[in-house]
C-alpha cells in the first residue's frame, strides 16, 4: 500500500515538473513575441477608429510615442527605448527597412488618411487647428554610427521606399502605401519638402535623433496650402459632407530639431 502511494507521488512530481517547464517555455515564447509593442499600436489604431466613427464626440485618442533604438548590437545613447530593432549594421537596406516599417506603422495607426480624428469641438467647429502625432522617435546605436559614418541620403531612402515592399509576398511598395504614388517623379512634383531633400541629397547622419510625424489640420490656410501640393483632403464628417475639410499630413521622417511645415498647434500622442 505504501509503495503504491510512493509511485503515485513520483508520477505526480514528474507531471508537475513537466508542467512548470512547459509553462516557462510558453512564457519565454510569449515575451519573445513582444506582444506589448503590438498592442500599443493596436490600441492607438482602435482609438483612432473610435474617435473617427464617433464623429469626434465619442472616444479619445490613446496613442503613445514609440521610442525606437535601431541597433546593430549595441546600445542607443540618450534614449530609453520602448522598442529595439536589431539590424545588420553594415547593411543600409536593413536600416532603411526598419525606418520604413515605422513609417508604415504610423500611417496604419492613424487611419491611412481615411479617418478624421480631430474632434468637432477641438479642431472642427469651434477652433481650426493643426494637430500632429509623433509616432516614433528614432536613434541609432554606436555600431551603426561607426559602420555608416556618412549615414544615408534622402535620395537613397526615397528610392528604397519606391522599390521595396513591406513583405516579400506584397505588391504594394512603401511609397505607394505611404503617399499613394508609384513614381518618385510624381512624389517630388507634389511634395516640396521631399523634393528639396531628394534633389539636394540631404544626409541622414546616424548620430542624430529622428522623428516620424503625421497629422491632420482643419486650419483653412493649411488645408489650402496642402491642397495646392496635392495632399489628401477629407471631411471630418463624411466624404460627401464637405462642411469641414481636414487636410492629412502624410508621415515623414526627419531630424527632431528640424522645423518642417506645417507647424503643429498641438500634439496628440503621449510621451
Amino acid at each position: 500500500m505504501k509503495r503504491k502511494n510512493a509511485e503515485l507521488t513520483t508520477q505526480q512530481l514528474v507531471m508537475i515538473i513537466i508542467l512548470i517547464i512547459s509553462f516557462v517555455v510558453i512564457l519565454f515564447l510569449i515575451f519573445r513575441l513582444n506582444l506589448g509593442e503590438t498592442s500599443n499600436k493596436e490600441i492607438c489604431h482602435n482609438s483612432v477608429i473610435l474617435k473617427s466613427k464617433g464623429k469626434g464626440l465619442v472616444g479619445d485618442l490613446d496613442c503613445k510615442t514609440n521610442y525606437v533604438c535601431i541597433s546593430g548590437g549595441g546600445k542607443c545613447e540618450g534614449i530609453n527605448p520602448t522598442e529595439t530593432i536589431k539590424v545588420n549594421f553594415e547593411n543600409k537596406e536593413e536600416i532603411m527597412k526598419a525606418i520604413a516599417d515605422e513609417m508604415a506603422d504610423c500611417w496604419w495607426m492613424f487611419g491611412e488618411g481615411e479617418l478624421g480624428y480631430i474632434g468637432v469641438f477641438e479642431g472642427g467647429l469651434v477652433r481650426r487647428k493643426t494637430v500632429c502625432a509623433i509616432c516614433s522617435i528614432i536613434k541609432f546605436d554606436e555600431k551603426i554610427q561607426e559602420a555608416q559614418k556618412q549615414g544615408i541620403s534622402y535620395k537613397e531612402f526615397i528610392d528604397f521606399l519606391a522599390n521595396e515592399t513591406r513583405n516579400k509576398n506584397e505588391r504594394d511598395t512603401y511609397l505607394h502605401y505611404l503617399y499613394e504614388i508609384y513614381e518618385v517623379k510624381d512624389l517630388l512634383d507634389k511634395f516640396k519638402i521631399i523634393k528639396e531633400d531628394y534633389e539636394t541629397e540631404r544626409l541622414i547622419p546616424f548620430d542624430r535623433k529622428y522623428v516620424i510625424r503625421t497629422g491632420q489640420s482643419t486650419s483653412p490656410k493649411v488645408v489650402e496650402a496642402l491642397k495646392g501640393i496635392g495632399r489628401k483632403i477629407i471631411s471630418i464628417f463624411s466624404k460627401e459632407n464637405k462642411e469641414i475639410k481636414v487636410a492629412i499630413i502624410f508621415p515623414y521622417f526627419f531630424d527632431v530639431e528640424r522645423d518642417i511645415e506645417p507647424r503643429c498647434d498641438e500634439f496628440v500622442t503621449k510621451a
Binding site: 479619445d60 503613445k64 510615442t65 545613447e77 540618450g78 534614449i79 530609453n80 469641438f121 509623433i134 522617435i137 535623433k209 527632431v256 530639431e257 503643429c264 498647434d265 498641438e266 500634439f267 496628440v268 500622442t269 503621449k270 510621451a271
Partner: protein, 182 residues
C-alpha cells in the same frame, strides 16, 4: 360674478404657463452647465494624462542619461522644479526679497524637491496651481528659466511649454535642466 370667475381662471392659466417656462429655462440652463462642466472636466483629464506621460518621459530620460529631451505636450502648461524661488523686486528692478515655495502635492509625501508639469490658470501662486491641476515626481534636478507674474514679481525655476516641441538640455554635473536655445 361669472365674468370675475372667468378672469381668475385666465390668470391662473397664465401663472401656470409662466411657471412651466421658468422651470424649463432653469432645467435647460442646468443641463447646459452640466454638459459644459463635463466637457471641460474631460479636457482637463486628457491634458493631465498627457502631462503625466511627459513627466514620466522626462524622468526616464534623465535616468537614461539623455542630454536632450523633447516635450511635446500639453501646450500652454508649465514645467517647474520645486522648491521654487519667487522674486519680488521694485520698479527700479532692485530685488526686494525672495520666497521659496513647494506644493503640498510634494511636501505632503515628504519630498524635499520635485519636478512638476501643471496648468496655471486662475490662481496667483504656482504651488496652488500644481495642487489644483498638475503632475509631480520626486527629482533633484533644477529647472533654469523664469516667468514674470507682474511688474514686481517673477518666478524662477519655470519654463512654459509654449511652442512645442520644447527641447530641454540636461546638465548632469550641475543637475540643471534648461531650454535649448539653438
Amino acid at each position: 360674478m361669472q365674468e370675475g370667475t372667468s378672469l381668475n381662471k385666465r390668470g391662473f392659466l397664465l401663472g401656470e404657463e409662466t411657471l412651466k417656462i421658468v422651470l424649463a429655462v432653469i432645467s435647460i440652463t442646468f443641463l447646459i452647465y452640466l454638459l459644459v462642466s463635463l466637457y471641460f472636466a474631460h479636457v482637463r483629464d486628457k491634458e493631465l494624462e498627457l502631462a503625466k506621460a511627459s513627466l514620466n518621459h522626462l524622468i526616464e530620460e534623465i535616468n537614461a542619461n539623455a542630454e536632450e529631451v523633447e516635450i511635446y505636450n500639453p501646450k500652454g502648461w508649465y514645467i517647474s522644479s520645486f522648491p521654487m524661488k519667487i522674486i519680488g523686486f521694485s520698479e527700479e528692478n532692485k530685488i526686494e526679497g525672495t520666497n521659496l515655495i513647494i506644493p503640498k502635492t510634494c511636501s505632503n509625501i515628504g519630498w524635499e524637491s520635485c519636478i512638476c508639469i501643471y496648468s496655471w490658470k486662475g490662481v496667483r501662486n504656482p504651488s496652488l496651481a500644481v495642487d489644483n491641476l498638475g503632475a509631480c515626481k520626486e527629482n533633484e534636478f533644477e529647472i533654469r528659466g523664469s516667468v514674470s507674474i507682474s511688474n514686481t514679481q517673477r518666478i524662477e525655476n519655470t519654463i512654459k511649454i509654449q511652442n512645442p516641441p520644447l527641447t530641454l538640455t540636461i546638465n548632469y554635473e550641475n543637475k540643471i535642466i534648461q531650454e535649448n536655445e539653438s
